[in-house]
């Protein structure tokens, strides 16, 4: 890539960091180096303020009261839906269903569209790199309906082996459920081509966008995906709110998810009729405060500019890969081509278990994840019990990458680098 791209970034990372109170704190007397944004992101002050503002000024239930506070709360709640629809270029706010998280959004599809449309001998195609949240629901559905699960495999570089697609997608394929970006490998999958092919065979496509929507521009109409799921807490919003996007005609046809208040039109003793989309899928009092705060997070991300966020992450990830590959005895996972690589770097070290790496990094206030990252089949694919994983966001700096690399050297010193790996 041409040098000098950095000059074109629309924001100054050090200024961005000022918006995040937690990034100025210390751990064990050392400045926090937070490199676990793929697990959950940190929150800017504007999101924290949004929560306090709601509970301080206009806390009331939505879609009910005739009084001012309830009207304010309802307007803010629905306004957040509109903001999120625009953020992913959904055709209308009604295509946005609020859930607890990505997992619940995927399970909503499994229990509604899935039970009505997947039958015995049908096929569901997923990939070997799925997070358990986009694997286990489909295992359950396949078992329940007598359908078959098929798998797109992953090559050594951490890319989907798409040459198998022609064999794997058939007339029997009802659904292709695939991650947009791998939470372990950082691979950005070429989902547009997969969607095209799936549609040719009449299959629908669900994208797990938990690692893409927070980090890059995502346009659901351009992708033409049928379902898309993501979580608020990974995109600077609060925990407890996730989003399911689905094409309008699918939502119209889908049966309700959970029964209860808000999702009904008329209730008789033995039967009921359903509210319109999206209320049909949002039973009970929703997570009002967190939905509104997620709207604030979308405002914040729009101010940064998603193209700028992606550009920053390309640079920081390239820097991380360049620095980390110099460490002797390290193995990095995932593609080298930065254009198909998100800000996630999983690694293992000779002779130091990932948990011990994470423990020693913690002593330097460097927060990384160690474990299977909810991807046990992928760990088996790469023949490792676990990896350490550093993941980045709009607030990650080169200095933080340097601290990570320093910490890795410290782990090697603690474990006596020269000693042969014990077998």
């Amino acid at each position: 890539m041409e040098s000098g791209v950095s000059d074109e970034i629309g924001f100054d990372v050090h200024a961005v960091r000022q918006d995040f109170p937690i990034l100025g704190t210390q751990v064990h007397g050392k400045p926090l180096v937070y490199l676990d944004s793929a697990a959950t992101s940190q929150k800017p002050q504007a999101i924290i303020d949004s929560l306090v503002d709601y509970y301080t000024r206009y806390n009331a239930n939505v879609h009910r009261g005739i009084y001012t506070l309830s009207e304010q709360a309802t307007a803010a709640y629905e306004n957040a839906r509109t903001k999120i629809a625009r953020f992913i270029n959904a055709p209308s706010p009604e295509c946005i269903i609020f859930t607890r998280n990505t997992t619940e959004a995927i399970n909503l599809v499994r229990y509604t569209w899935g039970t009505e449309n997947v039958r015995s001998d049908d096929e569901i195609l997923i990939s070997e790199m799925e997070h358990h949240s986009n694997l286990v629901p489909w295992q359950l559905l396949a078992q329940e309906q007598g359908a078959e699960l098929r798998f797109l495999r992953v090559n050594n570089e951490g890319r989907l082996m798409l040459d198998g697609l022609d064999v794997l997608i058939t007339e029997k394929t009802r659904l292709v459920a695939v991650t947009h970006v791998s939470n372990v490998l950082g691979t950005i999958n070429p989902v547009k081509g997969i969607i095209k092919k799936a549609h040719k065979y009449g299959a629908l496509v669900l994208l797990d966008a938990a690692q893409s929507v927070p980090h890059m521009p995502v346009d659901v109409q351009e992708l033409d995906c049928d379902f898309l799921a993501f979580s608020g807490h990974k995109m600077m919003g609060p925990t407890g709110v996730g989003v399911l996007y689905a094409k309008p005609h699918l939502l119209e046809a889908m049966p309700p998810f959970m029964g209860g208040g808000s999702m009904i039109r008329q209730v008789m003793l033995t039967e009921s009729t359903w509210a319109d989309v999206p209320q049909k899928f949002e039973a009970g009092t929703p997570n009002i405060a967190d939905v509104i705060a997620l709207g604030a997070a979308v405002d914040y991300l729009n101010d940064l500019g998603m193209a700028n966020v992606r550009e920053h992450e390309i640079q920081i990830t390239q820097y991380a890969l360049d620095q980390m590959r110099e460490v002797s005895g390290i193995k990095l996972f995932g593609p080298w081509e930065i254009q198909i690589r998100a800000g996630v770097v999983s690694f293992v070290l000779d002779g130091v278990h990932p948990h011990d790496i994470a423990q020693i990094l913690d002593s330097e206030a460097v927060a990384v994840r160690a474990g299977h990252h909810c991807c046990q089949p992928l760990m088996r694919r790469f023949n490792v019990p676990a990896t350490a994983r550093a993941s980045f966001y709009a607030y990650t700096t080169e200095e933080e990458i340097d601290a990570l690399v320093e910490g890795i050297h410290k782990a090697q010193r603690v474990f006596g680098h020269a000693i042969e790996r014990s077998v």
């Binding site: 278990h353 019990p385 603690v414």
Partner: protein, 151 residues
């Protein structure tokens, strides 16, 4: 935070040069224990001589703490009666839960794991081989390998 409390030289020695590691040709008790949350897996093999543990061996994959704990355990339990094994196991558990215990003199290696109690997330690592062995002894008559999951 004192990293030295966790990664003492003696622990790293056991991790890098483990004692009694590897599956024996035959064993009276075979037990595998795993922590699916972190991916640690340890196998414990016991050769019995009546009521005594003639030999304890282990294998598996895991972090420094779980593998060092397995190596130390295999050493200190060699030749002990089942009753003694139970008592030592209780002492070790108490130590991992932060209690001030006095271990028999020849078990000073075990004492080195005392610092693990200060790292609550790692206590399960140190206990994994002990829990696995306990499970194996409790199912001595199973006649096959038994397994247990902990978290």
């Amino acid at each position: 935070m004192q990293l030295n409390d966790l990664y003492k030289d003696i622990i790293l020695d056991h991790y890098q040069s483990p004692h009694n590691r590897g599956r024996p040709p035959q064993a009276d008790i075979e037990a595998e224990g795993s922590n699916p949350l972190c991916g640690d897996e340890v196998e414990i093999y016991v050769l019995l001589d009546g009521e005594r543990l003639q030999e304890v061996r282990f294998d598996g994959v895991g972090c420094a703490i779980s593998l060092a704990a397995a190596s130390m355990m295999s050493e200190v339990l060699e030749g002990k009666s089942k009753e003694e094994v139970g008592n030592i196991g209780e002492l070790f558990k108490a130590m991992m839960h932060g209690e001030d215990v006095i271990l028999p003199e020849e078990m000073e290696d075990l004492e080195s794991l005392k610092g693990v109690a200060k790292f609550p997330l790692r206590v399960k690592c140190a206990l994994l081989p002990w829990t696995t062995l306990e499970h194996g002894l409790a199912n001595e008559d199973a006649g096959h390998r038994v397994s247990i999951e902990v978290d």
